[in-house]
Each structure stands twice: as structure tokens, then as C-alpha cells.
Amino acid sequence: MNLAAAAPAVATFVAILGVPLVVLLASGFVDGGAPTLRHYSRLLGDAHYLGVILTTLKYGIIVTGAALLVGFPYAYVMARAPLALSLVLMLGIFVPMTTGVIVKAFGWSILMKANGILNTSLIALGIVDRPVRMIFTPAALYVGSISLFLPFMVLPIYSVLKAIPESILEASSTLGASRLFTWTHVVLPLSLHGIMSGIAFVFSMTVAAYAIPSLLAGAQFQVLSKVVANAFLVTDETHFGAAASTVLLLIAMGTAMLLNRLAQHVRPEL
């Protein structure tokens, strides 16, 4: 097949996204026609914005860590369980994944309202005696975000776990290895590649998330994506917004690329 067949897609991509993205990011280094790092020093030298960046990183790390903690067992059970359970677990990944973020956030807010179903059930069960504030709290944001990004942790881990042949595990135990040894020396190294792509996916998606922090945490929870949106949509400081976009891009893509690079190295030979 002629390489020219790739041209229309590449040209569309470059024109619609490539060139505008480069122009946008470049504008973060310009002020009044002269090159400057002013926007970066404003972003990185100000306690408020530094706090926002730290919040963003913390948000990304906690969500990624929690997603790994629950995502690995989920993927493991999905890969090893009997077909019926495995299929149900897959539906629990694919259906939420293909449902829009607005619909899911809407579902969470119905659940978490002061007089919503969760609170009414908690009171009925006698666990609390008055409604707990849930929506617009960090807890709501974290539960919602972990749930939102979980599929992107589970799927890569599931595919590496599924690819480990039973024969290897049997060989390991035939050779006298304990279950624990098989786990730490066979299963874990063989699934490291999937774990790392899961981490890369979830972290880069979480730090860049815009809709879910706005919908579940409210205005007081400031993350970098909101600084970007605010600069373009509210205060019209486009050069500053471009600088913030570059930092956001570096955090999201930088981590993902670094982890993917590492994952290439740990890719096992089967």
C-alpha cells in the first residue's frame, strides 16, 4: 500500500490540531509582541497558582493510587473468574466507560444529595442521625473520579493478566515455588507492563480532568484545567492561559511518556 494513503488523515490532523496547538503553546512565550517568560514566572512564582498545581498533582496521585489499589484485584478477578462473573465485571467496566461524563456526574449527584438515596439509606440504617454533606466535598470528587477513570486502569492490567498462560503458573508451582513466590516472581513482573500503562492513562486523564471537578467538587476546588479554562473563557488572558496549558500538557503527557518509556523496558518476553 502506498504511503500516500496516509496523507489525508495526517494533513487533516496537522491542519485542525497540530498547527493550532503549536501556535497556542508558542503564544505562552510572547507578550506584546516580545518574547518573555513573564507568564511562566506568574504561574510558577505565585503561591496561589503553585497551590493549584500541587492540588492538581495530589488529585492525580491519589486517584491513580486508589484506582490501582482496587483496579488490580478487579482486573485479576475479571481475568480468572468463571465466564458469567467475568462478563458481569466487564459490563461494569464497559458500560460506564462508554457513558458520557455528564450522565455519570448527574447520577452521582442524585445519589449524594442531602435528601438523596444514600443519605436516606444511611439514616434508615441508623448509621448517621442527620444527612451527611456529600456533594461538593473532596470525598465526592475522589469517589466520582476513581470510578470515572477506573476502566483505564483495569483494561490494560486485564489484558496482560489474560495473556499470562496457565502453563507458566503451573510450571512455577511444579518447580516447587510457593503461591506467594509465584506471585511476586511471575505474575507481578509479567503484569508490570499493564500496570504502568494503566497508571499512565489514569494519571494523565485525572490531572487534565475538567468536567468532573466542576460538577462534583464545586468552585472552591481549583485545579490547573480550571485555571486554563478561566484564563480563556472568563478573564481573557490568553497568553497566560497558553502558559498554563503548556504546564498542564507537560504534567499530563510528560508522566505518561515517561511511564510508557519505562513500560517498554519492563515488557516481558513470553
Partner: protein, 267 residues
């Protein structure tokens, strides 16, 4: 099995089941609330009612946005399917410096912050003097859906046994008809699945569309958010139920077509 292992395996299953409930809870609650006859977000008490589905049918604004989203997702997916298949097939066989880089650039919209993509594309359209919202949305959504197609075409080709083409030619088929009768049917299920996922990604997109819509041309997720912020009644639950049913249909269909196991690798 020793006790420790049983406890570990048991807790893995327990975690999986709890997570499953948490994953499905917001969707199930929406479906339940949509059947409530009351104007609050309560579980239906007594008999289920289709009241909010009838109200939804009469809500002009949401249907207009629904049709807009449907049209944009359909046009963008079909364009991506043509562009992405050509591109995937061309790049699959090619060996040149920078191939990997080109591929990761083409796939990057899957990972790049949606909001940065949206702003960049908006300013690009201003730069080029494109001022028609509908066209802007279609073009932006082509860029967003292209990675799904390219990636899946390449995965499918990777799993295709090219000696089958030689076999078909030995049996007397021309190269073109060997491709049409052997290669195409082989990668078709993956392509249909790719299109379905691409379609949903476009249909549900919020972060990019947010920058491109205007008062007259709005997509469904943006319109829904307006409704959530203004009037809160269960008609949105009725609409969301329809969208959840769409996802469920796609997932079951994809599972039938290529098996969910393979779908998880395609995604």
C-alpha cells in the same frame, strides 16, 4: 488451598464486587429515578410511571441538541473511518524513520487534555476564518475519533494472517478481490467496533465541544449540563436512561461481534 490464600482470593472477589456496585450505582439510580412519577429525584414508590419520558418528548431544546450530536457523531465517525483506515493500512506496512513518532502523534488526542485541545482548535478555526459552528464541531470530532480507528485498524491488521491473501491468490483470485473477500471480512468486526466506540466518544464529548458550541448549535452533553444547572427534574434522568441504553447496546453488540475480551485490547 491454605487459609491465607483463601482469604486473599476472597478479598479480591469482595473488592471486585464492591467496585462493581459502585461503578453501576449512578447508572442504575438514574434508570430508577426516570421511572418515578414524582417531581423529585426519588425512587419510584408504588407503580412506575413514564411521565418524565412524555415530558422529555415535549422538550424541544434537548431533541434539537440530540439531533445535532447524532449528526456530528455520524459524519465525524464516517470521515474518520475512511481517513483512518487508509492511514492505518498505509502505515502498517511502511518502515521509515519517525513512523513511531507519527503514530504516537496521531494517537495523542486520546491522552491530551481535552480542554487544551478544545482551545487550540477553537483558535485554529478563528485563524483559518472558519465560522460555521457545525463544520467546526465536525472537524474537531474527526480529530478526536481518528485515533480510535487508526489504532484498531492497526491492531486488526497485526492479528491478520497475510498468508491467507497468498492462499486466495493461489486459488485464482486477483489481488483486489483477495483483499475484498479475505482481508476485509476479517477486519470488519474490529472496524465496526472501532466505529461504535468512536461514535460514542464523539457523541459524549464535553471538554472540546464546550469551546466550539454557540447559542444556535449546541451538542447534547452541553445542553444537558445547562438543564442540570437550571431546571432540575427527572426528565434528564429519562434522557440519561436512553443514553445509558445506547451504551449498553453498543457494548453488548461489540461483545457479540469481536468478544469483549478482544474489545478490551482494541480500546
Amino acid at each position: 488451598m491454605r487459609l491465607g490464600e483463601t482469604i486473599l482470593a476472597g478479598s479480591a472477589v469482595a473488592i471486585a464486587l464492591v467496585v462493581l456496585v459502585i461503578q453501576l450505582a449512578p447508572l442504575v439510580i438514574i434508570c430508577a429515578v426516570s421511572l418515578s412519577g414524582a417531581s423529585t429525584f426519588d425512587l419510584p414508590t408504588g407503580s412506575a410511571s413514564l411521565r418524565w419520558y412524555r415530558v422529555l418528548l415535549g422538550t424541544e431544546g434537548l431533541w434539537i441538541a440530540f439531533r445535532t450530536s447524532l449528526g456530528i457523531a455520524a459524519i465525524a465517525t464516517m470521515s474518520s473511518l475512511v481517513l483512518g483506515t487508509l492511514c492505518g493500512v498505509a502505515l502498517f506496512g511502511a518502515r521509515f524513520r519517525g513512523r513511531e513518532l507519527l503514530l504516537s502523534v496521531l494517537l495523542s488526542p486520546l491522552m491530551l487534555p481535552g480542554i487544551v485541545l478544545g482551545i487550540a482548535m477553537l483558535r485554529g478555526f478563528n485563524l483559518y476564518g472558519i465560522a460555521l459552528t457545525y463544520i467546526e464541531l465536525v472537524l474537531a470530532h474527526i480529530v478526536l475519533t481518528l485515533p480510535y480507528i487508526v489504532r484498531i485498524v492497526m491492531t486488526a491488521l497485526d492479528q491478520f494472517d497475510f498468508t491467507l491473501i497468498d492462499a486466495a491468490r493461489t486459488l485464482g483470485l486477483s489481488y483486489a478481490s483477495a483483499v475484498r473477500k479475505v482481508l476485509v471480512p476479517n477486519i470488519m468486526p474490529a472496524m465496526i467496533t472501532a466505529s461504535l466506540f468512536a461514535f460514542l466518544a464523539s457523541f459524549d464529548n464535553y471538554a472540546v465541544s464546550m469551546f466550539l458550541v454557540d447559542a444556535r448549535t449546541t451538542t447534547l452533553p452541553i445542553k444537558m449540563l445547562e438543564f442540570i444547572e437550571e431546571s432540575v427534574d427527572p426528565r434528564l434522568a429519562a434522557l440519561s436512561t436512553i443514553l445509558i441504553a445506547m451504551s449498553l447496546t453498543v457494548v453488548v453488540f461489540a461483545g457479540r461481534l469481536v468478544g469483549l475480551r478482544r474489545t478490551s485490547e482494541l480500546k
